[in-house]
């Protein structure tokens, strides 16, 4: 059960006001927290609860589906305890930036650059926030839901005609 998860218990003790939601689905625990406190929570999880590996960092665009457009997703893993935890933080489009996790894990460097490149989310205090997959002069952020699949200024693909 999600309530008995070791991280959830500790997080509820220490950051009760920051936790928005705790969900368990298919055996995976997801904790949604306020984005203002993300850095403190991640630091606490790494240092006190030994989530020493940041497996993945990505974002989801909920354009028109949720009040806050973006959702940052952090997949944590503890090599010592061999368990996983997913932390999510909602972010409004108007806000558009969040504290960088690079000072907690060096891994976050390229992962955040990718999120910046493909979603246009700005990470504060990131040492080297440049585009990584797209070219430097690219306009737009391809993984946003309002970015067309075929690219800008092109006719949408209508399928084979024959």
């Amino acid at each position: 059960m999600a309530e008995n998860n070791r991280a959830v218990v500790k997080l509820k003790e220490k950051f009760a006001a920051s936790i928005i939601d705790v969900v368990e689905f298919r055996g995976e625990v997801t904790v949604t927290v306020k984005q203002e406190d993300i850095l403190e929570i991640l630091t606490f999880l790494k240092q006190s609860l030994l989530y020493n590996l940041l497996t993945d960092l990505t974002a989801v665009d909920y354009l028109g589906k949720k009040e806050e457009r973006f959702m940052l997703v952090y997949q944590l893993f503890s090599i010592a305890n061999k368990d996983r935890l997913r932390i999510k933080a909602p972010l409004t489009e108007a806000d558009g930036h969040i504290q960088s996790a690079t000072q907690v894990w060096a891994t976050a460097n390229w992962l955040e650059r990718e999120v910046f490149d493909l979603f246009g989310i700005v990470f504060q205090n990131h040492p080297d926030l440049r585009r990584i997959l797209m070219t430097d002069d690219w306009v737009g952020h391809p993984l946003r839901k309002d970015y067309p699949l075929q690219g800008p200024d092109r006719e949408p693909y209508k399928g084979r005609l024959s």
Binding site: F25, R26, E28, T30, N52, L53, L54, T55, D56, T58, V60, D61, K65, V73, Q75, I79, K82, R84, R86, W105, A106, T107, N109, W110, L111, E114, L118, R131, I132, L133, M134, T135, P142, L143, Y147, L149
Partner: protein, 390 residues
């Protein structure tokens, strides 16, 4: 007194030892590297974006094209993530064949790594031998899936079809001869003074730094961290197999070389155990909403044809929710994070490629070393640009 100035050198994207289209901008002081700036994205095809416009079934061929040296591992990770969302059981025979193919893929990927790594450092013979053995794995791929590289063989619920009768003998013969071949490679390299000079003490990264930068797979185990997802976060029935997880001590290129060679021997043992367990039975779950009907039924009955058409045209709805599934791919942890909104297409599919994260370590491992050693570091990280750029 002559003055010297730093030189900027462009390595790649077309360079034989960058293993694809990796570009490194090097700042050199003589032959010493003072700064490395990797430049990636030349192979970006937008696979994550494309996936949002395809049904779960149609995404599978895209996953082959991530790490094209280990297509079955990519298929496996994706299919396991979809199955986790669907919450379906897979028949035992299908699981066992998946394990066999995932380990064959590990052998294939490691053989290509060994071949190219040795070639980069100057040992050409190993390259020719390793590609000879890799060919057998390619033939096995062709035997079961019809394709040598883009296998597209696994399906949500099992496999696309059962393996042909000659499969077992072909695989058994291969894994029985493989340890002998590995001895040959080791005879050429492990005690070879040139090999030792090039690899011992090269690309050192401590366990702590390796975890901090997010290394996974053999690169992390080479630094002495004893963690293997097959053993510790078991999936697809790996808990039923006996195998050792090798770890290194000195955190250098030579230890990572030894770790990968032991992994190949262990892969042979796992395949042998899996072949012993292989019993006749179904290879696809009894789940008509998700699995395609057998071909006899499609060709001979109207119900079968409608059934096939319905899944092919509409796909199948997947329960709302989000899952992350990682597998121990040959290069490290390959993860799929899927957000489903309940329709037949994923709302968001995120691929966590091991090579992308591992490549980040190149700055730490090579800054301050000679430029010739950089080639050994690229080899030991075992990167594939197809999955870095996606």
């Amino acid at each position: 007194m002559a003055t010297t100035e730093k030189m900027t050198l462009n390595m790649g994207p077309q360079h034989p030892s960058t293993h694809g289209v990796l570009r490194l901008v090097l700042e050199l002081d003589g032959e010493i590297i003072t700064k490395i700036t990797p430049d990636i994205g030349y192979l970006h095809r937008g696979i994550e974006k494309l996936s949002e416009y395809r049904t779960y079934h149609q995404i599978l061929p895209l996953t082959d094209r991530l790490d094209y040296l280990a297509p079955m591992s990519n298929n496996l990770g994706y299919i396991l993530a979809v199955e986790k969302l669907l919450d379906i059981e897979v028949p035992e025979r299908a699981q066992t064949i998946r394990v066999i193919m995932a380990e064959m893929t590990r052998l294939e990927s490691h053989l290509v790594w060994l071949a190219c790594h040795a070639l980069d450092i100057g040992a050409m013979t190993v390259f020719l031998y390793a590609f000879r053995e890799r060919e057998v794995v390619m033939e096995t791929y062709e035997l079961i899936s019809g394709a040598r590289m883009t296998s597209n063989f696994f399906r949500a619920g099992g496999l696309s079809m059962d393996v042909p009768p000659e499969f077992e003998k072909k695989v058994r013969d291969f894994v029985e001869s493989m340890p002998g071949y590995l001895d040959t490679y080791e005879g050429l390299l492990t005690t070879n003074p040139i090999w030792l000079m090039r690899t011992v003490g090269n690309g050192v990264i401590s366990a702590e730094n390796a975890i901090d930068i997010g290394l996974t797979g053999p690169a992390l185990r080479g630094s002495g961290v004893d963690w293997d997802m097959r053993r510790d976060n078991s999936y697809s029935g790996y808990e039923n197999y006996q195998f050792k997880v090798p770890v290194g001590e000195n955190c250098d290129t030579f230890d990572r070389y030894k770790v990968r060679l032991v992994e190949m021997r262990e892969a042979c043992k796992i395949i042998n155990q899996a072949l012993d367990r292989l019993k006749p039975g179904p290879v696809l779950a009894d789940c008509p909403q998700i699995c395609y009907p057998p071909k006899e039924s499609v060709y001979n009955s109207i119900e079968g044809l409608i059934h096939h058409f319905k899944i092919a045209s509409e796909g199948y709805p997947v329960p709302e929710g989000e899952v992350y599934q990682g597998v121990e791919a040959p290069k490290g942890e390959l993860g799929y994070y899927i957000v489903s909104d309940g329709s037949s297409k994923p709302y968001r599919l995120r691929i966590r490629p091991p090579s992308f994260v591992n490549l980040q370590a190149i700055e730490q491992m090579s800054t301050g070393t000679m430029i010739a050693d950089l080639v050994a570091v690229i080899g030991t990280l075992d990167i594939v640009l197809g999955e870095i750029d996606r």
